[in-house]
């Protein structure tokens, strides 16, 4: 069981390394979206740092959602996805390692890049660190929930926009507690309540999403 999951993780990372541009496009999308806001809202430091957590989180949401179809789309086309369904391993575990790989390739880079963008938006140091922490705890939930949407819209025409319509409403709790944590810390209320709830959402997603994604894949490949 664990062997197969390790193989799956190795496979995903090897594939991504052979097509580095794909990983970087998600990251650059994140950077571009965040950089648009000062141009739109104006460069004043107060307004920017006020909206910074929300901006960073919305950009992280959009970036991780855009990279979701890479999860299953190619494997669906070349028949490897079928082989996973026919593998002797429980599909939910294979899907879990696939989502883990997706998070390592898209979620983690966002977390590592967020301090730089935080500075760009005039956040103070401990807000920047807290921001990175909320992203670290929250982005796994984005990949997990998104994977269910990706499974459902596999091979469906207009899948991209449809995926956004399905998945973004489900991202809202993560957005609220993620950006809310930084605001709460800044106003002195303290962010540990937000962080624990964000962690709870990620754990709940980690338990339910692989099973739901496996069911979605079986439905799509029927």
């Amino acid at each position: 069981m664990i062997e197969a999951m390790r193989w799956m993780l190795w496979r995903e990372i090897a594939l991504a390394m052979r097509r580095k541009t794909e990983v970087l496009t998600t990251l650059f999308f994140f950077i571009i979206v965040v950089s648009l806001f000062p141009l739109g809202v104006g460069p004043e430091k107060e307004t920017l740092s006020q909206i910074a957590p929300g901006v960073l989180w919305v950009a992280a949401l959009l970036a991780s959602m855009l990279s979701l179809n890479r999860l299953y789309a190619e494997d669906y086309l070349d028949g490897t996805l079928e082989q996973f369904l026919l593998g002797a391993q429980p599909l939910a575990l294979l899907v879990f390692s696939k989502i883990l790989a997706h998070w390592l390739l898209t979620g983690l880079p966002l977390v590592l890049m967020s301090p730089v963008l935080g500075m760009q938006l005039g956040l103070d140091v401990d807000s920047i660190l807290l921001m990175a922490l909320t992203l670290l705890i929250g982005t796994p939930a984005l990949s997990l929930i998104g994977s269910v949407g990706a499974g459902l819209t596999l091979g469906v025409r207009g899948g991209g926009v449809l995926l956004a319509l399905l998945v973004l409403p489900l991202y809202i709790p993560v957005l609220i507690f993620g950006s809310g944590a930084v605001d709460a810390a800044r106003t002195g209320v303290g962010a540990d309540a937000h962080l624990s709830i964000l962690g709870a959402i990620s754990v709940l997603a980690a338990l339910l999403a692989p099973w739901a994604s496996a069911a979605a894949l079986r439905i799509s490949l029927d």
């Binding site: 197969a4 052979r18 002797a88 391993q89």
Partner: protein, 207 residues
């Protein structure tokens, strides 16, 4: 060993086929015949558990495959139209990953031998995207040399294969059947059937 009765398949809201019956035991080959669109591929995928039958049940060793799930799949090897070969990965990597996911990981040497035997000498470690369609199919077929699965389900296995590849594949099928394995296949090309018992299943009107 494998038994199915009353199988019905619905695609969209059309019934492709209904109350299909089949039985297969060790050492037997089942050749599913039928025009394109008669539901051959759907039946094949149904036997793999990929497609849910509208009616009827499939049994493996007396137990329904929907209850057995992974235990049934551990005994199953399926090669479909889509070969399941990743273009960016080399033949070796593809073979090792598929074997690991099939529940029987193989060593590097076993992978090299299998690819060599299947006729890919010298191309074992090239990314699959540089291989020809026939060579890609050989990478997929190489899984037959390393699998421990008893039931092989092959959808058009002979397509894009040259003459000696077809002969080699027939040999592999023969050995598998003689060791008590089972094969279900669909094909439009002529092939010399193995010396063991061969059953035929006609879907839709005869050609």
């Amino acid at each position: 060993m494998l038994k199915a009765a009353g199988l019905e398949c619905m695609r969209g809201d059309r019934i492709l086929f209904s109350n299909v019956k089949l039985e297969l035991d060790a050492g037997e080959l089942l050749h599913v015949k039928g025009l394109n669109g008669s539901g051959k591929t759907s039946l094949i995928r149904m036997l793999c558990g990929l497609v849910m039958p509208n009616a009827g049940e499939i049994f493996w060793g007396g137990e329904s495959i929907s209850d057995l799930k992974e235990d049934y799949l551990a005994n199953l090897l399926y090669i479909g139209h889509h070969l399941g070969v990743k273009a960016e990965l080399t033949g070796l990597e593809n073979l090792k990953i598929n074997a690991a996911l099939g529940g029987h990981p193989i060593s590097e040497d076993q992978a090299w031998d299998a690819l060599e035997k299947i006729g890919l000498r010298g191309r074992e470690d090239l990314p699959a995207k540089v291989l020809s369609q026939g060579q890609k199919r050989r990478v997929a077929l190489a899984r037959m040399l390393v699998t421990k699965a008893k039931l092989w389900i092959l959808d058009e296995p002979f397509t894009a294969l040259d003459v000696d590849a077809v002969k080699m594949l027939e040999g592999v099928l023969n050995d598998h059947l003689h060791q008590g394995g089972m094969v279900i296949l669909t094909t439009h090309q002529a092939y010399t059937p193995p010396k063991t018992t061969v059953k035929y299943l006609q879907l839709g009107e005869a050609t």
